[in-house]
């Protein structure tokens, strides 16, 4: 039976959700809705009597404020339209799952598999609105038609209609079969197989697979198992997932012929990853002793203290977020949580970070067909990461946003998680990864459905109109939270031997990965718990359904493991055993459906890409010089610019304080409304040692030279840690490359240049991580961030996020950026150069002058040796406790930096630009001093009585007192010959800073 339960607020109870719809419809669609009342609908599919259904109905509603009915609740008195939004069949319905649990509790019995609850939401709308308006509201604001259904009724239609008693039950019963895929000796036919199956395999790869199956020993092996000569669909899908760009990083693994057209130098690079990323860490590792596990596991592991290691990983989740911003990004954060969870013997989650590169939410030009408006993407992405992070009980520490219209085609959604691993688990090092022959292959957590099928291969492709809907995955934080707590308990009880994450490629990747430790793996797909019937064997194998981890459980622990899982309401499936056969063998209902040589699958099979990169410095015109000399107006304007203004409104919707360990929060200052340079948190409740998180990102510098872009973002990520008091000798970084496709092809005629940009970025990564002694301990690359829609190709600018993780011996000595005391002295540390290329200032001028891309000039470079001397001195000054405040200028340069530290402290400053340290005797123009985004600089304040000691610590370094802190809440900046460059009270700076994205 299907019972419909409707729940609505009682008359007189304010409907905040309905009011929210009115507000969003107005600001996002310009639609005027007079009133909106919302109702929750539950469709309970259960073998129950009406009296039981009545009990379920009463149990579901909050009787204090809501009324409910079985069937239809009386319509609200006044409305013109009713919009109902539900899920399509098979789509994850988290509320429905909770309601199902509640129903079981109310009925006092366990439910049968097919007894389910499906939810939908009703909006009763009043206003001068047409049917098209309501459809527009549904499609373009409240629902994502990829995963949701929309029904619209006029008042009359609604009153005349019978209550809808259909539920979106996934009821597809295709014939379950394994197909044989013959691989003919014909290029076109091979490519057709790849593209029809969304396998994303290249011709070289298809050829390599074909050749493999023609090998004599392969034929013998297959004959022994009774497998046909050619691959089964299960095998081909498994290979495609494993070899996808997303899983095997072919662009970073391939060879590159690199040529610098400026110098004429040529070189052959055998894997960017090995040559630069891995090699730099190896080089740094020669000099440090605090790396525990790098690049081999799901996240990087470094030493923290005698009890704990720190674990850190940042991921991107771009393609799914483009299709379904809410579900995709939620999966991003909940998914990256599983990386620390699957690192070593399983880490505890401590803090999240997020960052998005998006089109402007105020974009007012035409959006290519098939793409969503960036504001909608932004809202969805925030909401998804908020829901995922908050509901998981992990506080966020850092968040950033970059806006540029080149992210219109593909938003970048970075999500990261820091965790801790006890140094020892079960008396042995916790970073170990070992599996023994005979251990059980176990999947635990969520069930398998069609969600996320082809996620890995799909994200390895550019976004196309026909990108498959099932590539959308929806996270379920509650299921994962239960899984996480269970795993921590099981770990400490010694109930498993090894653990890893189930991410891209599903169990086709994770079972095989784990099998590598023992030398083989065999599993039975029929033992996998499914969300619904009708999944083909290959779908079970490659599904990316969320909230799953893969384990190796010792035979003697199976019983205790299963018992604990049941007690914690976590689903586990013992699906096979690890062995040392050298094969990944998959059965369905007892029959072998795949058996792949693991060496071929993981090591030797996938042919290497061969790519070319040619570097030629782009010529970008510079904007014309600004008129006049007083920059007060421009600074106020700049404070409100999209890439400078406050992100506080959205950030406050994230939980940043659960666990109660935060010390320097994302927002600081007397009003807690200016962004901190970095965040500091305790790690343990009984110790004062802390961890520091920060980041550097600047896609605009890439337009000039990705080498300097990379140097700059590495420096920024490091100097932010230094600014709050982090030790220079304990900083590690993560690299997340998001690139447009850098492989030359018809679709990408400028691939050679984009590859050269990637090479230069890698060269800088090597040079600066080695020079600074800050190893890259984990990273990820995503190299297909292009979109072709409506005949228009949009590629992102090369974007490198460097996330830093630092340490501080005593969090009580952390330094914050706001000014603290009137009368204290303001010092500038580090050299300011004429580096306005791609700066916020040049971009503002270029836009004003009507040539928005003409923001050329020199991008800021980094002198690592000089920077290191400064960072060491900063460490000493912090340790001695003489820094009242410290801030490192970034976007917007010194001018924006000064504005922020004044606003933060609620104090003014008088500044003399002529005192700012420059190169030698060189004198820069005041605009350059104010707005240049030169690296490795700090603005600090010091009590007058500590000035001598401060200057002593910085003897021989570029440092100068540039002003004093004043009580009058005004920022006054004098330039050459004493001319006033800025003269403003703080409120007129704060207003534009806070206004732009407030409520957006």
């Amino acid at each position: 039976m299907i019972y419909r339960i409707e729940i609505g607020l009682k008359p007189g109870v304010p409907d905040a959700r309905g009011r929210g719809v009115i507000g969003r419809a107005k600001s996002a669609l310009g639609m005027k809705i007079k009133a909106c009342q919302t109702r929750d609908v539950y469709k309970a599919v259960a073998n129950i009597k009406k009296s039981e259904a009545k009990a379920v109905q009463l149990g579901f509603a909050d009787a204090v404020v809501a009324r409910s009915a079985l069937g239809r609740l009386k319509a609200p008195g006044s409305f013109d339209w009713m919009l109902e939004i539900g899920f399509k069949p098979g789509v994850t319905d988290n509320v429905g799952r909770t309601a199902r649990g509640a129903m079981a509790d109310i009925l006092g019995r366990e439910l049968a598999w097919e007894e389910q609850v499906y939810t939908s939401l009703q909006y009763f709308l009043k206003g001068d609105l047409t049917r098209e308006d309501i459809l527009h509201l549904g499609k373009d604001l409240l629902a994502n038609t990829l995963i949701q259904t929309i029904q619209v009724f006029s008042k009359e239609e609604w009153l005349a209609a019978e209550p809808d008693l259909t539920a979106p039950i996934f009821d597809d019963h295709p014939e379950i079969k394994v197909n044989l895929i013959e691989l003919p000796d014909n290029d076109a036919a091979l490519m057709k197989i790849s593209s029809d199956g969304i396998l994303s395999l290249s011709l070289d790869e298809m050829r390599a697979i074909r050749n493999h199956y023609l090998h004599d020993d392969v034929k013998v092996h297959r004959t022994e198992l009774g497998l046909p000569q050619w691959p089964t669909d299960v095998e081909l899908e498994c290979i495609a997932q494993t070899w996808s760009e997303h899983c095997s990083h072919k662009i970073f693994a391939g060879t590159v012929e690199y040529k610098d057209a400026e110098t004429g130098e040529e070189e052959l690079i055998n894997s960017l990853y090995k040559t630069y990323v891995k090699a730099s860490t190896k080089k740094v590792a020669e000099k440090i002793d605090w790396l525990v596990s790098v690049f081999t596991d799901n996240a990087g592991v470094i030493k923290f203290n005698e009890d704990l290691h720190l674990v850190y990983k940042v991921e991107t989740h771009n393609s799914p977020s483009a299709l379904d911003p809410f579900g995709g990004s939620m999966t991003g954060i909940v998914g990256v949580n599983r990386d620390p969870m699957g690192t070593g013997m399983g880490a505890q989650l401590v803090s999240n970070v997020w960052g998005y590169c998006l089109g402007s939410p105020f974009y007012d030009k035409e959006i290519p067909a098939g793409l969503m408006h960036p504001r909608r993407i932004r809202d969805g992405v925030h909401d998804g990461v908020i829901a995922g992070g908050n509901e998981s009980g992990v506080p966020y520490s850092r968040g950033f946003e970059c806006f540029d219209e080149r992210y219109l085609g593909k938003p970048l959604v970075y999500c990261g998680t820091m965790g801790t691993l006890p140094v020892n688990v079960g008396g042995r090092p916790s970073e170990r990864k070992e599996v023994q022959v005979g251990d059980w292959t176990v999947m635990c957590g969520g069930r398998i459905g069609k969600d996320g099928i082809h996620g890995a291969t799909f994200s390895s492709e550019e976004l196309r109109t026909e990108s498959p809907a099932q590539a959308v995955q929806i996270g379920d934080p509650l299921t994962q939270r239960k899984l996480y707590e269970f795993l921590m308990e099981a770990r400490d009880l010694g109930l498993f031997r090894c653990i890893t994450d189930n991410g891209a490629g599903g169990i086709s990747c994770s079972f095989g990965e784990m099998g590598k430790y023992s030398g083989g793996c065999e599993c039975e797909l029929k033992d996998a718990p499914l969300k619904y019937e009708g999944l083909q064997p290959w779908e079970i194998l490659v599904s990316e359904a969320q909230e799953r981890m893969t384990l190796a459980v010792q035979p003697e622990c199976r019983e205790a493991f299963e018992k604990l899982a049941k007690q914690r309401d976590v689903e586990v499936a013992f699906m096979g055993k690890y062995n040392d056969s050298g094969y990944f063998t998959v059965k369905y209902d007892g029959e072998v459906v795949a058996s792949l040589d693991m060496d071929f699958l993981y090591e030797t099979g996938c042919p290497k890409l061969h790519m070319k990169g040619i570097w030629k410095k782009p010529e970008i015109p510079t904007p014309e010089k600004a008129r006049g000399g007083n920059r007060t107006k421009q600074l106020r304007q700049m404070m409100g610019r999209l890439n400078i203004c406050s992100r506080e409104y959205k950030s406050r919707i994230y939980d940043g304080e659960v666990k109660g360990l935060s010390v320097v929060k994302p927002f600081v200052g007397v009003n807690a409304d200016v962004p901190s340079d970095a965040t500091v948190m305790r790690i343990e409740y009984d110790k004062d040692r802390g961890a520091i998180l920060a980041e550097g990102i600047n896609p605009w510098f890439s337009d000039i030279d990705t080498y300097h872009m990379t140097a700059s973002v590495i420096d920024e990520a490091i100097r932010r840690v230094i600014s709050v008091g982090g030790r220079l000798d304990r900083i590690a970084i993560l690299d997340n490359f998001c690139w447009p496709d850098p492989v030359q092809s018809d679709k990408t005629p400028d691939g050679e240049y984009k590859m050269a940009q990637l090479v230069r970025s890698n060269k800088a990564l090597y040079d600066y991580t080695v020079a600074f002694g800050t190893p890259a301990v984990s990273g990820k690359d995503s190299c297909k961030n292009d979109s072709t829609r409506g005949g228009k190709k949009i590629s992102i600018p090369p974007t490198l996020l460097i996330s830093s993780i630092g340490q501080i011996d005593d969090v009580k000595k952390a330094v914050t950026m706001p000014l603290k005391e009137a009368g204290s002295l303001i010092y500038m540390v580090g050299v300011t150069k004429n580096e306005l290329g791609a700066s916020e200032w040049n971009r503002m001028l270029a836009e004003e002058q009507g040539n928005p891309w003409n923001y050329g000039g020199d991008a800021p470079a980094v002198d690592a040796k000089a920077a290191l001397a400064i960072y060491r001195a900063m460490n000493k000054a912090q340790d001695e406790g003489i820094l009242l405040s410290s801030h490192t200028p970034s976007k917007g340069g010194l001018a924006v930096g000064l504005a922020l530290i004044c606003m933060g402290g609620g104090l003014g400053a008088e500044i003399d630009l002529s005192k700012v340290p420059m190169v030698g005797k060189q004198k820069l123009k005041d605009d350059s001093i104010l707005f240049s985004e030169s690296n490795s600089r700090f603005v600090v304040s010091v009590k007058p009585e500590n000035a001598a000691r401060f200057e002593e610590l910085f003897a021989g370094l570029p440092v100068a007192q540039i002003g004093t802190v004043t009580a009058d809440k005004k920022l006054v900046v004098k330039g050459g010959k004493g001319a006033t460059r800025i003269d403003t009270d703080l409120e007129t700076l704060r207003k534009p800073f806070k206004k732009t994205l407030y409520g957006i």
């Binding site: 905040a16 509320v95 509901e391 304080e657 109660g660 409740y685 009580k812 952390a814």
Partner: protein
Amino acid sequence: MKPKILIITGYGVNCEAESSRAWELAGGSPVKVHLNDLLDNPAQMRDFHGLMFIGGFSYGDHMTSGHVFALRVKHHLREELQKFIDDKKIILGVCNGFQTMTKIGLLPGLNGEYFEPKVSLMQNDCGHFQNFWVNLKFEAQSPCIFTKGFDTMPLPIRHGEGKIFTTDAKVIEQIEALGCAAARYADADGNPTKDFPANPNGSLNAIAGLCDPTGRIFGLMPHPEAYLFPENHPNWDVQKLNGTLPAQGLGLKFFENGVKYLVG
């Protein structure tokens, strides 16, 4: 002897670490017990002197916050909870724990009725979750044992559904008459306020925390367990310079009061 405090965990509540630490620092002996383990053996509640419903997202806040957790507790623990109350033990709920307690009916617990919900914690007027610090003003005349001696205190809020609401004006009258509105959102001067953001959710009478008429059962939306360290305060850097940094986070006082009450 240290009083034993039961902290219920599982199904999405997530403040177990800091809540446990708070009771420890206050001199209590907290024990974390998974809801399923408690439901298997409800009689174990008799071993405890205090009970805490902690913050988090029980059941993902689906079907309104605290609702499903409350449903389960009410179905399976009603007798033991009644006994717990009758034995004059103490119960504290924070954020999602407070929401759960109102949905069970433990709060406001008027007329000795602890399983009949009288008020609800509804969605904030602003329509979404928020995390920032608020100033609280405490009711001097309240019987609440947890807030005894308090005047004002800054604490962080982290919730989407914190607005105290009922359509029954008599309930609010009774709450006020009995001093059950133990904590209110106040402006910087300590005056209770309806205005956002000092009052972050539009709560009736600016109520942030409610106790039952005995004062032994108390719930509040802000998080005292998130202010155990002086450095949790957003302005600790300034407080350190001007000498106003407390030795310990002020939120600890709630737990100290609880322990003080139990040890007598």
